[in-house]
């Protein structure tokens, strides 16, 4: 078991629709897919974003792309139209996820 940052083995991209955030996580080496499938669960991502109190986190698996799509509900402080924060789109939040430590 190796501890490392998600950023060491995967890429991520954030997208938004209203108050919902999606984070695509893509393995740089498809060989890491199975390990990430075990280590980067929806529950783990919910913990990483705990301070934003997600109403729900769902993970969709895309083995042919070596990727996962996480959908987090109600984490954008209202979303781009209503948030008072600097990043209502949540564009920077992929890099919060990438900084997480994982075990593979």
């Amino acid at each position: 078991m190796n501890r490392m940052k998600l950023r060491d083995i995967a890429n991520a991209r954030a997208g938004d629709k209203g108050n919902r955030l999606n984070l695509a996580v893509v393995c740089r080496d498809p060989a890491h897919y199975a390990a990430l499938a075990r280590g980067l669960t929806a529950e783990r991502v919910a913990t990483i974003f705990a301070s934003r109190s997600p109403a729900k986190v769902v993970r969709y698996d895309l083995p042919k792309l070596g990727a996962f799509n996480f959908v987090l509900d109600d984490v954008l402080e209202g979303g781009v139209n209503t948030s008072l924060g600097l990043d209502g789109h949540g564009k920077s939040l992929s890099f919060l996820l990438l900084d997480a430590e994982i075990e593979i």
Binding site: K17, N69, E77, L84, G85, L86, S92
Partner: protein
């Protein structure tokens, strides 16, 4: 029948680079087969802002950057038979078409055949109460707020039909972004609308093109980990689509950027929720069997999109007036900058607690604690000992005067706050909130008008 279509993705939002199209048009001019240049410039709020502009001046309300997007490439596109498809019509597609005719006249070009696609505007089609009854995922519209714009997402059919009728340029308002590519593909390949896998492939092509450089190395670079060569002159995407729906993404020669499995897969999943069911007016797109393969330098092949029959209802976005956002900023730098900034935040909190206890606002310490770990703007996370902090205060209100107290208090920190407070800036920005509705197709009837010859 065409065997291959080439589409350039020249813009991904209203504020995108207006010089991105030059290298695309140069490459398209040399390509064989039907060629199209696509401009996606209509985010959710952009249309509502355009609607406000149209209320002020009925001749306006199209994308204000229309001239800067179209004028540089119009002559070359007309000369080489590159057809332009864009949603830069925003709240006034007809106005945009007339403006393009005027640009052609100013440049001494032949009058282009321009198709105007309308029918997305639900104003006068559904009342506020009827929209409220169709709202999903919230109850924004229940209280009958002032509706600024209500537009339904049209699909690719009117675009394909406009091209069938010989349009050099198709100008739309609200259509689903992917339709800007699917319309040309259905026109060129004569795909059947119920050939769901091909409609899905064309939708995926549009999805990959609709954000411009986001598939060619934009929104990607992380120096040392994910490097992108020549990002400053990143090339925008060129998609080659075959009649069977296979897609190759490339970019013009002598441009920067990066196209490989990594950049493309990130964009395949951009703004996707359930990858087995991405709903657009034309199809339900299933991405789960999609494969992405590098086939050469900066060339990637994408196949495997599958489609299910199109949804029965269409999504509409309804924008309502949401008052104003007030923001004020002040800097603290040098010795004990963080300490002085913290004190300034306390001073503002203390004063407002007595003078406006109901005012809801947030504080960010840009450079120390702002986007991450500052949930609700409470500055509750410990600050790193940085020597350069920009404090930001943000507040919402119904009218500009509702946010003025906070902005005035921040400005007063100059003389009455901690030492060395510097560089106050203040802004008040109108805000729009949006709601989503599901609309029966009978209320979304596209209209096509051909505008030919001098306006």
């Amino acid at each position: 029948m065409a065997s291959r279509v080439t589409i350039g993705g020249a813009a991904g939002f209203a504020g995108d680079r207006t010089d991105a199209s030059g290298p695309l048009v140069e490459a398209l001019a040399k390509a064989d087969g039907p060629r199209f240049l696509m401009f996606e410039t209509l985010a959710e709020r952009t249309l509502a802002l355009s609607q406000l502009e149209r209320r002020r001046d009925p001749g306006r309300g199209y994308n204000p950057a229309l001239d800067r997007f179209v004028a540089p490439v119009l002559a070359s596109c007309l000369a080489h038979g590159i057809r332009i498809v864009g949603n830069f019509g925003a709240a006034n597609p007809r106005g945009a078409a007339l403006r393009i005719q005027a640009i052609a006249r100013e440049q001494g070009l032949r009058p282009p055949r321009i198709a105007v696609v309308e029918g997305d505007d639900l104003t006068g089609v559904l009342s506020a109460a009827e929209l409220a009854a169709r709202e999903v995922g919230g109850a924004f519209l229940r209280g009958a707020p002032d509706i600024v714009a209500a537009n339904v997402y049209l699909g690719a059919r009117p675009i394909a039909e406009a091209l069938d009728r010989g349009a050099d340029i198709v100008v739309t308002g609200r259509v689903v972004d992917s339709a800007l590519a699917l319309g040309p593909l259905v026109h060129a390949f004569n795909w059947r609308w119920d050939d769901w896998d091909r409609i899905a492939a064309g939708t995926l092509a549009g999805h990959l093109l609709e954000c411009g450089a986001q598939v060619t190395g934009g929104y990607f670079a992380d120096p040392g980990v994910k490097d992108v060569p020549g990002l400053a002159e990143v090339g925008y995407p060129l998609a080659e689509i075959d009649a069977d729906g296979a897609i190759v993404i490339g970019k013009p020669a002598r441009t920067g950027g990066r196209i490989d499995r990594q950049t493309v897969i990130e964009q395949v999943l951009y703004e996707i929720h359930d990858p087995a069911a991405y709903l657009v007016p034309d199809v339900v797109l299933d991405l789960t069997e999609v494969t992405v393969t590098g086939i050469g330098p900066d060339r990637v092949r994408i196949v495997g999109a599958r489609g299910q029959p199109a949804p029965e209802t269409l999504k509409a976005t309804v924008c309502v007036d949401a008052g104003v956002l007030g923001e004020a900023e002040i800097s603290y730098a040098g010795a004990n900058a963080a300490g002085r900034a913290r004190l300034a935040a306390e001073v503002i909190r203390d004063r407002l607690a007595r003078r406006a206890p109901d005012l809801q606002f947030r504080i960010d310490a840009i450079g120390a604690v702002s986007i991450l770990g500052n949930d609700g703007g409470a500055l509750s996370r410990p600050w790193p000992e940085v020597d350069d902090v920009r404090l930001r205060f943000a507040v919402r209100g119904g009218r500009p005067e509702d946010v003025r107290l906070l902005l005035d208090e921040v400005e007063a920190l100059y003389c009455a706050g901690p030492g060395g407070g510097a560089g106050v800036r203040r802004h008040v920005t109108p805000r729009l909130a949006s709601a989503s509705c599901l609309i029966e197709r009978k209320f979304a009837l596209p209209r096509i008008t051909m505008i030919e010859g001098p306006a």
